[in-house]
Structures are given as structure tokens and as C-alpha cells.
Symmetry: C2
Subunit: 340 residues, 2 copies
């Protein structure tokens, strides 16, 4: 994937962005990761590679495996286990995407028909389970019990975050703190684990492992906050994605929470109607975006993201300078700047 | 659970059956396993222990964890890791039950409303993921990479078996061999892993590990064959379960495969209508049972089960005599005798 992205930039005759620069640093590793992914999604049951291939080939940014690779390299790791773990991290991510799309009844994923639309919910649940199991087989390979603890722990926390999101879903009384717990679970825990294992397999001291865990956690929170802001932003449309998916599902995200808290009684009635009762009229999305803009809810969601981004960058302070460290630092701002 | 079962037998003034005798041998271990299960299903997200507690408390026979405990004891194991692994095995089993009920749209599980009926499909999928993750956290604890390989490998094979079942579902052309692959995956792989890890943590030689793996695999196949026969048998009703669940779902099991293969053109048209087109009239279940009886399909499903059961018993031949060996041997016949 990294290669493709860089060629894209080259072809477009522009400078590569920070994610492309980070990807370029781990280009050779990523080629191996893609081989591992292809090999490990095979099964005598043909539907499995077919369905898994659909969602994995659709691409996405491969941000999480890139983080594992770059973290390991920054820590001076010279082996090959980081490639296995990067594939493992991508499998966990893909498994959760498959289950998310079932749980959310999503029709689109990465601009294509989602697997549940093409094959139905049942194969999506079961192939998700398969990829999840494969992820565990991959994480055993490096032979590190600490790696296993980190990644299996993250998986449990992801599931907790998803269940928590299901509970808070449609509830306008959700607090910012409860929302943070949701995204720490559903998104940031895997970012954190993806980064931390890089330091663990490089056998770096505990402080560096914790620094990378904190970098990943905060980057993951920032990343999700920006994702949530983008769901209400015109920039999203420019990226070829639909605006308002969260809105239509009644998903409570920080932009909604801030607009709700800052709005008067009449506005709160609006939010309760569209998010809780889910009675939505065609003009409601524009109305929601209008309210968010008036109260600075989108701008401040980005500001909150910048706060976590700043913590992520500072967490890298204990590492000595290297191309990987610079790229990991710059990718934080890149993730946040997607938001405006 | 074991204690309760034994008291049941005592209260009823009858001899304990083979499963109760096996359970009694690992009674103290099982009490610890139940504590581990209770502790590990906890989460700050209250819905998780609530939903997980519903399905776990409903009980079931706890056959898989009993196998892990008894296998470890037969191998002379004196530590405590077998308790952790028994809990792990039960968590994997429970996670697959939750996902199965979603995939099959089942309304009942162990005679109670299923979790998907009580809480909906979404929490069932996500709490399944949580239990699956917890299972992996548990399997890390004994610190044995071989145990991790066996149990994570089994998890992947279970998912493959479930997908394969989904594909063959409603297809009357399913061969007996294809069907065997399905049940090796969805049922026997976990039986096999549950038994094998007992020998691994006891650090017994490879031959004993393989013997227990084979015992579990063959017992698992026999167990599932009997389950499939029971779904069409009056004995099932005596156990307080519904007859014809598989039939109503159009699930192709060995009794159907044998009746189809042994029947004439008219009968095959019947099977295609009820299983493939799923056009079922109230009298069709009785008609199906009639055809199965006429062709000896149920009797021969039990005979096939007895064949795998015989292999299971012989696999234990290399172990020296012990109460556990005797109980593990006798439980095979007990599992098969449920069938008539």
C-alpha cells in the first residue's frame, strides 16, 4: 500500500504528506506485511479469503500496521517479528470493521459496498471471528508473552468500547468523559497496543514501551475525534466519503455532545428528536451542522484532538532523533489537519 | 456445576451417570474454574457480565472444561493452569454460542430465551467478541506457547467450520465427507484442543499429547453426530428440548444426508422443497422423521457416532489405568447413548 500511496503523490506532482513519508520509511517491511496478510487470510473454505480479501483489498490507510513497523524501527529493531505483529494488528482491525458493519447495519465501507451488504450478516460475523482467530495465531509467533498480553488485552478493551458505544448510542445525555471512554476502547486501545509492541519486541526498557503506548493511545483518541468531526464536515465530501453517517445512525460523538451542552432548551429538543427518537427529516442534517458551527462544536472537537495530539508528540520526547521519530511526530499533525 | 449434578443423582436416588462420575473426579477443580469464569467475565461495562452471565449461568454440561481438567489430571498434572485453560475453553465455547445464535436467528438456548432475543443481535456479537478476547487473555496465563498454538489454531478452525456450515446450509447435495469437515471444525476442534492442552501443561510426551488430541477429536465428532440425531428424536423431547430445530433452519446434518441418499426421486423432491426452498408445512417434520426411520438414517447416524466413539476410546490405550482414564472412557459411551 505504501508504494501505491507514494506513487500517487509523485504522479500528482506534489510533495508526499506526512503519512506517505512515514509509510515510505517502512516500505519494504510493509510489502512483507502484505504478503503475510495475503497468506494468512487463506483457507480451504473459499468464502473466507473472498470476503476477507474484499475488505482488506479495499485498502484503507494501513495506519495501524505502519505504526507497529515504524515504532519497532525507531526502537532499533532489526528482526522480522514486527512484520508479523503489523499483520496481526491489521487483522484485529479488519475483524472489528466486519463486526462493526454488522452492528451498525452499514452499507458502505471505504467507499465500497460493505461485506454485510454483499454477503450478508452471517458470513461477516463468522469471517470476522476467523480473522480474529488468525490475529491470535499471528501474535503467538514472535514467542513473547508480553506481546500476547498487550494485544489480547487490547482486543478485550476494544470489545468493551464497542459495547459501551452501543449503550450510549442515541443517548444525548452522554458525557464527554463517557464518550472518551468509548473511543479509548474502540479506537485508541489498538493504536496504543500497535505502537507498544514495537518497543517490546525491540526489548527496549519499560519507559520506552510506556512512551510508545501513550503515544499510540493519544494519537488514537485524536484520530477518532477528527473522524467524528469529519463526519459533519464538507472536507469529508472532498475525500469521497458520505457526510452524516453518524448522524443518521444517531451515534453520539463529541460534536453532538458539545452542541447539545452549549445549546438552549429548543436545540436540545431538536437533538433529542433526531438522535434519540431518530425522527429525522431531510433538512435535519444541515440544521445539525448549523448548530454545531454556531456553537463552535466542530472547531472545538478539532481543538480537543490537538490536545491529545500534543500529548502524543511529547510522549516521543525520550527517544533520540531519527527519521522514524520525526515521521511519527509529523503524522500526528497530519491526522489532526485532516479535520479542517 | 459438578456438585449440583451429583446431588441431582443422589436426590433422585439413582446411580450417577458416566458424565457425573467424570465431573465428580474434578469437582474441586471445577469449583475454581467457576470462580475464574465469574471473575473474568466482569467488566466496568455492566451489560457485558449481565449478558455473559445469562448464557454462562444457564449452565449446560460444562463438558469441554471437564475434559481439560480430567485430561490434565489423568496426565498427573499437579498445578493450577488446567483450571485457567478449562475456563478459557468454556469462554471460547460460549463466544461461539453467542455468535451462532445470531447467525442462526435462534430464539432459545439451553431452554431459555437466547441472548439475541433478550438483548438483540448487536450486544450478542460484541459480548461474543469480548469473551473471545478474554479467552485469549486466559490462554496466555500458563505461559506455554504450545498451548497458545493449539487453542488459537482451534479457534480459527471453529470459525472455518462455521463458515463451511453456512455454505452447505440448505444444500441437499452436501456429502457425508463435507459434513464431517463441518463438524470437525465447529465442534470437534475445540474438544480436541481442550483435551490436548491437558497433556501439554503436564509436559507429557508428544505421543500422549496426540493421543488426547485424537480422543477429543473423535469424541467431538461422535458428540455432534448424536446431537444431530437427537434433533429428530423423541428422546430430545424427554430432555425438555425442542425437536426439529435443525429441520426448521434447513440445516443439513447426517440424518438428512443419509435419508436423501437412500431415498428415491420423490423423496429427494421432498427434501429439496423443505431444506432448500424451505417451504415447510406443519406435517413435514413428521414426514421427515418417517423417512429417516424407514431408511435407518437415525440409527445409522448413531452407528457412525459409535465408530468415532470407538476410536476415541482406543486413543486412550497408551495411558496407564487410573480413575480419570476409566471415567474418560466411559463418558464416550454415555455421550453416544444419549442418542437412543
Amino acid at each position: 500500500m505504501a508504494v501505491v500511496v507514494n506513487l500517487d503523490a509523485e504522479r500528482a506532482g506534489r510533495e508526499p504528506d506526512a503519512l506517505e513519508r512515514l509509510a515510505a520509511l517502512v516500505d519494504a517491511d510493509m510489502a512483507r506485511v502484505n504478503q503475510i496478510i495475503l497468506k494468512q487470510m487463506q483457507s480451504p473454505v473459499a468464502l473466507i479469503p473472498e470476503l476477507a480479501g474484499h475488505i482488506i483489498a479495499a485498502g484503507g490507510k494501513r495506519l495501524r500496521p505502519i505504526l507497529t513497523l515504524a515504532a519497532a524501527r525507531m526502537c532499533g529493531y532489526r528482526g522480522e517479528h514486527h512484520q508479523t505483529l503489523a499483520a496481526c494488528v491489521e487483522f484485529i482491525h479488519t475483524a472489528t470493521l466486519l463486526h462493526d458493519d454488522v452492528v451498525d447495519d452499514s452499507a458502505l465501507r471505504r467507499g465500497q459496498d460493505s461485506a454485510n451488504v454483499l454477503w450478508g450478516n452471517k458470513p461477516s460475523v463468522l469471517v470476522g471471528d476467523f480473522l480474529f482467530s488468525r490475529a491470535f495465531q499471528l501474535m503467538v509467533m514472535p514467542g513473547s508473552l508480553r506481546v500476547l498480553e498487550i494485544l489480547s488485552g487490547a482486543s478485550a478493551v476494544i470489545a468493551e468500547g464497542e459495547v459501551l458505544q452501543l449503550i450510549t448510542s442515541n443517548d444525548t445525555a452522554t458525557t464527554e468523559l463517557a464518550y472518551l471512554e468509548v473511543i479509548k476502547g474502540k479506537t485508541a486501545a489498538l493504536f496504543s497496543a500497535a505502537c507498544e509492541v514495537g518497543a517490546v519486541i525491540a526489548e527496549r526498557p519499560k519507559t520506552e514501551q510506556e512512551a510508545l503506548s501513550s503515544y499510540g493511545l493519544n494519537l488514537g483518541i485524536a484520530f477518532q475525534l477528527i473522524d467524528d468531526a469529519l463526519d459533519y464536515s464538507a472536507k469529508q465530501e472532498a475525500l469521497g466519503k458520505t457526510v452524516g453517517d453518524d448522524f443518521r445512525e444517531g451515534k453520539i460523538t463529541l460534536p453532538v455532545i458539545l452542541a447539545f451542552l452549549r445549546g438552549g432548551a429548543e436545540e436540545r429538543t431538536f437533538w433529542q428528536r433526531v438522535m434519540e427518537a431518530q425522527e429525522q427529516r431531510p433538512e435535519d442534517l444541515q440544521e445539525a451542522i448549523g448548530l454545531m458551527t454556531r456553537h463552535g462544536a466542530l472547531k472545538d472537537t478539532v481543538a480537543r484532538a490537538a490536545h491529545y495530539g500534543a500529548m502524543a508528540k511529547d510522549a516521543l520526547g525520550i527517544f533520540k532523533d531519527s527519521p522514524e521519530k520525526r515521521a511519527l511526530t509529523e503524522v500526528v499533525d497530519f491526522c489532526i489537519q485532516r479535520g479542517h
